[in-house]
């Protein structure tokens, strides 16, 4: 085989690998959701975040508008502080917007859901959402249910 042919085949091989990498990066991984969009940060305090994780989606009306970027525990107020990056194009959330932690499906992943309020002012970079509702923890609900059952029987 001539060295010209070999060089062409090696070039095709490398090109195929690069194409495969781009296919995996763009089509299969979350690279496209990193893509270029500018974000602003909001935070919210919850009593209990359940199974929420960093990179969990933040959605409003079922549409993903951002992601959770950090979760800390505030040991003075005994609350979990969830930091979220919201895409800048969704910057018209009133200041009395409520943030709740929902579960997709019965046992699915947890996400933060926004329900817009009615104020005239909008949330901006660094604001804290006050109206929050914690995650429903299945064990607690079952526990409460059993207690109430036991009370009824007495």
């Amino acid at each position: 085989m001539t060295s010209r042919k070999i060089e062409i085949l090696v070039g095709l091989f490398v090109a195929a690998a690069i194409a495969a990498f781009f296919m995996l990066a763009m089509q299969v991984s979350n690279m496209s959701s990193y893509g270029g969009g500018e974000n602003y940060e909001l935070s919210a305090r919850f009593d209990n975040i359940g199974g929420l994780k960093v990179r969990s989606p933040v959605s409003a009306g079922g549409v993903t508008i951002g992601r959770v970027t950090g979760i800390q525990y505030n040991s003075e107020s005994y609350e979990a502080v969830v930091v979220m990056a919201i895409e800048t194009k969704y910057d018209k959330f009133p200041v009395d917007t409520a943030a709740s932690i929902f579960t997709s499906g019965l046992l699915g992943e947890q996400f933060v859901g926004f329900e817009p309020g009615a104020e005239e002012e909008f949330l901006k970079q660094g604001d804290v959402i006050d109206l929050t509702q914690s995650a429903l923890v299945l064990e607690q609900i079952i526990g409460q249910f059993l207690y109430s059952k036991a009370d009824e029987e007495e």
């Binding site: 060089e7 194409a19 296919m23 089509q27």
Partner: protein, 263 residues
């Protein structure tokens, strides 16, 4: 009776010393190879030629294997997940397992079998027919001329092959899940886009395949360079290449997974 026992103990000791000696020789050899790799910058043509025989010629088996691994995984995970009504997760399951584990590992095992054994046999035969000593006589350093290009070609080819393997596997899974089993193509692509992380999954998979490439090629060229220059010794060296690199790959995969994917 006692002398038989003592003989056995002595034999065990000799075998242990022998294997440690080989490990030491192998490590020194690896350093020598890395030092000789610098000379490749002045002679890229040698590298291109080896990239062809190590990388391009391994490509067909990688593509075929990747396609079928992806197809089988889609089929199996479909039957397991449909009981829970979670068959939409076939895409993310196949993509994650391919990028994290199967892509690098299966590619490395096939690579050790296809390219590693060929490297050992080639270099071993050069040693047996005294081509390597002939080169030294002509003041050509066989490390720079023979070993370094092959080593470097292996290290470069492995991540490329593993990436192609994963991509082809995902396409195979798509063919089975969407075209054959009739799943919706929306969740097949959108679930991985939500759950597969570019850095954590794709980049770590590539780091894994680079490590496997270094280890598999190192073992292959060392076994060839160090073999007993007879037809029997050459055969043993080729077998050892495949066995040792497969074991090393599986062991390292466990170590790397434990390091990368635990929080």
């Amino acid at each position: 009776m006692f002398s038989g026992l003592i003989d056995r103990v002595a034999h065990l000791g000799a075998a242990t010393i022998h294997s440690f000696r080989r490990l030491g020789r192998g490590s020194v050899f690896l350093l020598e190879v890395i030092a000789s790799c610098a000379s490749l910058f002045t002679r890229p043509r040698l590298l291109i030629k080896q990239l062809y025989s190590v990388g391009v010629q391994t490509l067909i088996i990688i593509v075929v294997a990747g396609l079928f691994v992806g197809m089988v995984m889609a089929l199996q995970s479909y039957y397991a997940l449909i009981d829970f009504g979670a068959e939409d997760s076939v895409g993310v399951m196949v993509a994650l397992s391919l990028m994290r584990e199967l892509g690098p590992v299966v590619t490395a095992l096939l690579f050790a079998g296809r390219a590693g054994s060929a490297l050992t046999a080639e270099i071993g035969l050069m040693k047996a027919t005294e081509q390597l000593s002939g080169m030294e006589m002509m003041a050509v350093n066989p490390m720079q001329r023979i070993v370094a290009p092959r080593f470097m070609a292996g290290v470069i080819s492995m991540p490329l092959l593993a990436t192609i393997f994963s991509a082809v596997g995902v396409i195979g899974a798509y063919l089975v899940a969407v075209e054959l089993l009739g799943l919706d193509s929306g969740p097949f692509w959108s679930q991985p886009q939500n759950k597969v992380d570019l850095y954590l999954d794709l980049y770590n998979g590539i780091i894994k395949s680079v490590v496997f490439g270094v280890v598999a090629t190192w073992i292959a060229v060392f076994e060839g360079y160090d073999c007993i220059p007879t037809s029997e010794g050459l055969g043993q060296a080729t077998t050892r290449t495949v066995v040792h690199s497969s074991l090393a790959i599986l062991f390292l995969d466990f170590v790397l997974t434990a390091l990368m994917f635990t929080k």
